[in-house]
């Protein structure tokens, strides 16, 4: 893609992203905000106040060394306001960077920091 097209897309993207920067809000999550979970294979769930387009939303796991791992989202028709995933976690601090597309077209973003403790 030519440079000017990329620049245009990024400008447009930023313009759109703030259209409703505070619309869909995170109401509940596993792990909780600034909470902790045990090391190992863990289910991750982010619950919102609105119905979410699960196929067009995104979850990225950011480790303490800033490495980013995209997380696959499992679509659940019976949980329309959730983004569900799972990850193998080692002890340390993490952030889930989420981007949710609400069904009304509003895009919101946020960070969910949490800690992973050694398995008992």
């Amino acid at each position: 893609m030519p440079l000017h097209c990329r620049v245009a897309i990024v400008i447009l993207a930023l313009l759109a992203s703030l259209n409703a920067s505070a619309h869909a809000i995170l109401t509940e999550s596993t792990p909780k905000l600034n909470g902790s979970v045990s090391a190992g294979h863990q289910a991750l769930a982010l619950k919102y106040n609105s119905k979410i387009d699960q196929g067009r939303s995104r979850l990225v796991l950011i480790a303490a060394d800033k490495s980013e791992t995209p997380l696959a989202i499992t679509a659940h028709a019976d949980k329309p306001n959730e983004l569900d995933s799972a990850a193998d976690l080692k002890p340390g601090t993490y952030v889930i960077r989420w981007q949710a597309l609400a069904l009304d077209g509003h895009i919101t973003r946020g960070d969910l920091p949490f800690t992973v403790t050694a398995a008992p």
Partner: protein
């Protein structure tokens, strides 16, 4: 490019406002043509010409909707393509993109097919109305209702009804004003006035019914109303709606007198309708900024309590002496960075990066600095309102009051952003990336413009009637823009408490602008009364500013 996030976000709310305005004007124009002008056309003097003009206005509105919706949808599609890494074909299947495409198709259809010939035949007329209805249905799919977890069908119907009411009343007023401007004979005025009055009442009923239902589902309770940004914006919409109802009542009384064959001021009806357009469009922009906040019922934590509002607004003497610039948090941080760099023989870092989204540090002196600015601005505005009243009462030298606005503009430009040139380290141009700096400069420009025009008009330097309109229009626009004004303060409660002050300021600004408009455009007692109302609004703005507190 990430540095421009805030400034683009602010512009996008404005763009959404244009979508609502054009959609309402297109639907309102269609309804006006179908249920008012076309049936009456043969009985009106110049009926054919009027129909042609309203058709043209409605077509232009459709083109406007097409363009603004195209821009909005393109933005949303682009963000998904670039951030979630999805192909264009996938993103275009998202519900908002489907709804946006339907809206654009309907607008295109109406723009291309609407004409006097299509309005004259029942089937094409019905098809055009159907296109409008489909557009309205698609529009409801991009409202809060579509993504709610419960009561979707009810809320979608209510959102549709709300937009329908806004279209039939506010969206149709430009068509009404256009027709009024060309109608001369009393009989035609009576026919149009009476029928539009009935249509307006239907629109008001739709807005009231849907508004109350949405209040129940989106605001919920009284703490949600005064304790959240959503509630405060709803309050602003309600206040303007009440203002519109007052003007509408004035017009209703005129049409009733006409209906009964009595004399009535058609000029007043025209002028009130003009003001209804202005306030109505301001409501649309408030609605656009309302979509950028979550409904109050979803924000159950971090609400502002009545006690906090009372504590913040407890009477206190205005702060008339400024803290020293060197004591501000940003100055102290910069001094520290300069010292560290000098010690390490390196180039000093800037204490802030405008537009980075990272909030600059704040201390008690920063709050004192900001309060000092607001309080002196309050003194300026109070004095301006007082001098305008003196001028209205015939004191000749007081007509130079607009010059005080120029002084105030210089004061604001110098002090509103202490981290920026000429007081701070940041350069003039780079600071445009910061949305707050850009908004402050925009307001300074507005002040300079309307002050210059008004002074030139009052001193006879400008004799054009239109030059006199610049002041009221820019004041009204400034008030409307203030409704979308945002202050970046990390504490959400602080932001809310500031918004509680800025919203009445915005409403007083809108009222002042349109009152001055009426003074200029409405002869007789109404205009004279308006001539006292707007300086009083300025004095109220002055008092609110003097009352302003940040801690």
């Amino acid at each position: 490019m990430a540095l421009l996030v805030d400034i683009f976000g602010y512009l996008s709310v404005i763009l959404h406002g244009f979508v609502i305005v054009t959609q309402s004007m297109m639907l309102g124009g269609l309804l006006f043509l179908t249920f008012l002008l076309h049936p009456l056309s043969s009985r009106l003097s110049q009926g054919e010409m009027l129909e042609r003009r309203v058709v043209r206005l409605t077509r232009w509105s459709a083109w406007g909707l097409l363009l603004s919706e195209l821009a909005t949808t393109a933005l949303q599609v682009s963000v998904l393509m670039s951030t979630v890494d999805l192909p264009f074909t996938n993103v275009m299947q998202a519900s908002f993109a489907v709804a946006g495409s339907i809206k654009m198709l309907c607008a295109l259809l109406i723009a291309l097919c609407l004409g006097q010939r299509s309005m004259a035949t029942p089937l094409p007329r019905a098809l055009l109305l159907l296109a409008g209805l489909v557009e309205l249905a698609a529009a409801t799919a991009t409202t809060h209702a579509y993504a709610r977890l419960d009561h979707n069908a009810l809320l979608m119907a209510v959102e549709g009804l709300h937009q329908f009411g806004a279209a039939i009343w506010i969206g149709a007023i430009p068509s009404f004003v256009l027709v009024l401007r060309h109608l001369q004979d009393v009989d035609s005025l009576r026919r149009v006035g009476v029928r539009f009055s009935r249509m307006s009442m239907l629109g008001v009923a739709c807005i009231l019914l849907s508004g109350i239902t949405m209040w129940v589902f989106y605001v919920g309770d009284l703490p949600g109303f005064y304790g959240t940004a959503y509630g405060v914006m709803v309050g602003a919409k309600v206040a303007m709606f009440i203002g519109l109802l007052g003007l509408g009542l004035g017009n209703f009384l005129v049409t009733e007198r006409l209906r009964k064959g009595r004399d009535a001021s058609v000029t007043r009806m025209r002028r009130f309708a003009e003001v209804e357009i202005g306030i109505g469009f301001t409501i649309f922009f408030a609605a656009a900024s309302l979509t950028s906040v979550p409904p109050a019922v979803d924000l159950t934590t971090d609400r502002v309590s009545l006690h906090e509002i009372a504590v913040r607004n407890a009477p206190a003497w205005p702060r008339l002496s400024s803290p020293d610039h060197d004591t501000l948090a940003i100055s102290q941080l910069q001094t520290q960075l300069d010292q560290d760099a000098a010690r390490d023989h390196q180039v000093a870092q800037a204490a802030t990066t405008p537009g980075s989204g990272i909030l600059p540090p704040r201390n008690a002196e920063d709050i004192a600095w900001s309060e000092y600015n607001h309080h002196w601005a309050g003194i300026f505005v109070l004095l301006i309102g007082f001098m305008a009243l003196l001028s209205r009462a015939g004191v000749r030298w007081a007509r130079h009051w607009p010059l005080l606005f120029l002084l105030m503009a210089a004061f604001l430009l110098l002090r509103s952003d202490p981290e920026v040139w000429p007081l701070g380290q940041e350069g003039w141009w780079v600071a445009w990336r910061d949305v707050e700096v850009a908004q402050h400069r925009f307001f300074v420009l507005l002040i300079i413009l309307f002050a210059t025009f008004e002074w030139s008009v009052r001193t006879g330097r400008l004799k054009s009637e239109r030059a006199a309109w610049v002041f009221p229009l820019l004041v009204a626009v400034g008030g409307a823009m203030l409704l979308t004004h945002s202050h970046q303060i990390s504490n959400v409660k602080d932001q809310m408490l500031i918004e509680l002050t800025h919203t009445p300021l915005a409403l007083a600004g809108v009222a002042a602008g349109w009152a001055r408009w009426l003074e200029l455009r409405l002869p007789g007692r109404g205009g004279r009364v308006a001539g006292y109302v707007w300086p009083a609004c300025f004095m109220l703005i002055g008092v609110i500013l003097l009352w302003y507190r940040e801690a």
